[in-house]
Symmetry: C2
Subunit: 355 residues, 2 copies
DNA sequence: TCAAAAAATGCAAGCGCTTACATTGCATAT
DNA sequence: ATATGCAATGTAAGCGCTTGCATTTTTTGA
């Protein structure tokens, strides 16, 4: 597979299609490859005169560095990975967007993978991204096997856990306290007189956000002097149709709830849709709440009362932490952001008829 | 920066943290690096006995190939890029998902970038993805400068244009005929008696899909014996709020349209929202239609009549074409898919009052 | 049984870049 | 003038993998 260096190459007629290399630029600018490399990567370690000459050569040749070679020699790809539970709906879209924007300002590319809320699949994706050369990883939530963390540690891959803040967890994270936020929302619900309450949540076994949210609802019940066990709970994967189904089931129950707290906005949108087709007034007969405050929440009608989550701040903050970590700087500890109740139209006082 | 080969390394105490290399695997399995490489990449070029031995060594050492080295030596990254106009809403989500799924089945990673519907930004993204080592690219629509295409040609980057099928365009593409589809929808609208019609479209100067759709509407007008100039047109970027605003403006006009055809579902959702807050009945007073048939179309109420687009087929098909191209096989020409009107609730007959 | 063909394996030359270390050239201090 | 320090540049050794070609081993057919 002889391809030869640029000198040899110029003797070959068939080589005209090859892309220019650092060496081509170097010889054209009359300097060494080291100087070209430095001109490109550490401009101020080179005198202005040579730098200009190098840049001119780069332009004339249309040179662009070879990704693989750069990665191999520098031992870094300038690629960060993000593994989010789903791309199917917009839950993580805004946060991810902010993450990417911040990284790209630092010359870093983002590689995105999704785990479909499965721990197994997530582990596979982690391996895949690391294999792809990811320099650092954004992870959602703390739930993960020890082996997974061991792998990350062993490969020395900087990583940060986002979308959650849990002071009891040791890992670097950025997010909000899901439990506290859900408790605050539930407080509002209770204040409005609701006593028969249901929660529609995702499977809580591999999802600490969902688990914490449910806990939060129970905390609020307890605080209000009610029994947490009285909470009617349905676990179902996040999706419009599952939300609709769960709502329908709830409405058929003997002890029909007057307020249905959904684990996220997608579920709530489904519930809302079902309420409409069942002819149930919201919030007249039944109140519905969501969580996340994605765009959908504003579009549905009536507009969804939900928990506003600092998507963009989490994305940007995660990027910042990861960059610090990669550069061996002090990231400065986990950061807690606020999530607050976003009042809209689907939450109202319990109606007299159903009391 | 001496790191030494594996033999030397074993003499260094500080080397314990280094990741195993091909050479480590080779010496452990008692074969050459070439054999290890082949066991991994072309298993059937190696006898079963050695392959097993190699695989065992791989497992024991926890070996994983170095991405950069692999890319450099093999001159391919097994990464394809996709540049879509936006990630902010779900327009391209399903198609992209299908694209990724198909690629990942072939061991290819997808790199996604968005252009925000800007030709300039798109060109930058193309360069970025190529710099990142993308082996092939998925592009949306034909509109693009000759330089951009020249660049792709020069670097010999296989690429395919998706979301459109236009028999007058020379490039390999997969998609549907936007013009025909919009014409079909407009036919329905005209059949229902509408004569005062508005189109809310994206900026058509850098967006061939939007341009074609508008043309389609005009075609239908012409066919029905009406003057295409009578179509009321508003150009505005795709977004919920812009859809709402455009609708509001339209409703304030002297010659108020009885049907508002939106360039996509996002715009239509905005229009619908505004209709609601304006107290305008849909489709009683005014009909509204969308385009794309994303999830949103089903969720809003009344549910959106729109054009169903074969998202998944386009994504999967594009992946297939790209793989063929990269492997030097015959992709077999552009493919036209069907897009058909999806009837729901927002399109109805023109009401008497407004006649 | 033995030559010829085919299969399996090894050798080693790159792939294009970064970077530790060496060298050179100059300004500054003595 | 000469020594000293620093900035600018060059030298060349890798980085870890793939692959053309050479060599060895096995299979096949007379």
């Amino acid at each position: 597979m002889p391809r030869g260096n640029s000198v040899l190459r110029s003797e070959r007629s068939s080589a005209s299609t090859d892309l220019p290399t650092l060496e081509d630029v170097a010889s054209r600018a009359g300097v060494s490859t080291a100087t070209v490399s430095r001109s490109l990567n550490e401009p101020n370690r080179v005198s202005k005169a040579t730098r200009d000459r190098v840049m001119a050569a780069v332009r004339e040749l249309g040179y662009a560095p070879n990704f693989g070679a750069q990665a191999l020699a520098a031992k870094r790809t300038n690629t960060f990975g993000a593994i989010i539970p789903t791309m199917e709906n917009a839950i993580f879209a805004r946060g991810l967007q902010a993450f990417q924007e911040h990284l790209s300002q630092h010359g870093i590319t983002t590689l995105v993978a999704s785990s479909s809320y499965s721990a197994d699949l997530e582990e596979k994706q982690i391996h895949a991204l690391v294999a792809r050369g990811a320099d650092a990883l954004l992870l959602i939530g703390h739930d993960r096997t020890p082996q997974t963390y061991a792998f990350l540690e062993h490969r020395k891959i900087p990583h940060v856990v986002a979308w959650v803040y849990d002071s009891t967890q040791p890992r670097l994270s950025i997010g909000f306290d899901n439990r506290k936020a859900m408790a605050a929302l539930t407080d509002r619900v209770l204040e409005l007189g609701h006593r028969s309450i249901a929660v529609v949540t995702a499977d809580i076994s591999e999802n600490d956000r969902a688990r914490e949210r449910l806990q939060g609802a129970k905390d609020a019940m307890r605080k209000a002097g009610m029994k947490p066990e009285d909470l009617q709970v349905i676990e179902t994967p996040y999706s419009i149709s599952n939300g609709a189904e769960a709502f329908s089931e709830l409405m058929g129950r003997e002890k029909r709830p007057t307020a249905v707290l959904c684990g996220n906005d997608v579920l709530a949108a489904g519930a809302l849709k079902m309420a409409r087709s069942l002819g149930i007034e919201v919030p007249g007969e039944v109140s519905i709440t969501g969580f996340d405050d994605i765009e959908l929440a504003e579009i549905v009608s009536p507009a969804l009362t939900t928990v506003h989550v600092p998507h963009r701040e989490m994305g940007r903050g995660a990027a910042r932490l990861l960059i610090a970590l990669r550069d061996g700087k002090d990231p400065g500890g986990s950061v807690e952001l606020e999530a607050s109740v976003q009042w809209r139209e689907t939450l109202g006082p319990v109606c007299r008829a159903s009391k």
